[in-house]
Symmetry: C2
Subunit: 148 residues, 2 copies
Amino acid sequence: MTSRLEALCMEKGLKMTGQRRVISQVLSEADDHPDVEEVHRRAVQIDPRISIATVYRTMRLLEDAQVIERVDLGDGRARYEEATADHHHHLIDTRTGRIIEFASPELEAMKERIAHELGYKIVGHRLEIYGVPLDDAADGIRDEEERP
Amino acid sequence: MTSRLEALCMEKGLKMTGQRRVISQVLSEADDHPDVEEVHRRAVQIDPRISIATVYRTMRLLEDAQVIERVDLGDGRARYEEATADHHHHLIDTRTGRIIEFASPELEAMKERIAHELGYKIVGHRLEIYGVPLDDAADGIRDEEERP
DNA sequence: TCTGGGATTGCGAACGGTTTTCAGTATGAT
DNA sequence: ATCATACTGAAAACCGTTCGCAATCCCAGA
Ligand SMILES: [Mn+2]
Ligand SMILES: [Mn+2]
Ligand SMILES: [Zn+2]
Ligand SMILES: [Zn+2]
């Protein structure tokens, strides 16, 4: 069965190899923000003859083709998600690692306004929020030190 | 002459070695966002017997002591600036690499509100804007592809 | 369907930024 | 000044990522 991303790749005229099909499937089924090793782990379960190097190469290919997007969550590695029409940002729960997605047109507008006032046109931006659940914070649960 | 940061370090009770004094001086005099190699380059000009390893160690020490702050501008390396009372963000000119600092209480408030609505208390956040000068953009100067 | 040749793969080595190990040295409390 | 302790330089290890190369695969064209 051909996955959503596989169809997209074919539209873009990318040569479809077995490895790319599997990686496309993995990414199509993912509803989180896996890093390269995680994608590889999932891919190998479908077809064991996929090397990590190929996953790296394919992620870059798909990113360049705008099929997926790279997400930088502040841990040292690149994470990815399917490219979507609607732009959003991430709130990372520093206690659990849970990632909450959010969008804010007001915030985007404000950012746009700020750049314009400085004499700039925005070509890209990055925003992540790190937080802890309000109730946990109220309970006074000790905050283990984490570099966000 | 004892630099601003050196004084701060002594207040915090850090052992003051010759190397730390020099690095503190370099950072006190910097008005940009140097990476570790740049700090080392400047430090060596004051005292050639400072190793890059010590600069790495000292930057981390000063960061942990909240004397300096790490800035992630999206190029692969850590950049630093003196910790200041007033929080700010960075707009990076993707054509020249120039960095413009800005602050926006409204934006901070909005971010705070968003997190609160999601049930979270903010413990950290990151925001960078990448842009090109408005007039350059109007002139239609070709945008060389850069990964921001 | 068969084929040729350029694209892709797996492997391991290389890379760039950063951390660590370890033996020698400097610091600062006494 | 002494001495335990913390710090340093140099080199090796580390970690995520990219690269070089020979072997293999895909698929447009016959
Ligand atoms: Mn997302
Ligand atoms: Mn700054
Ligand atoms: Zn945005
Ligand atoms: Zn802020």
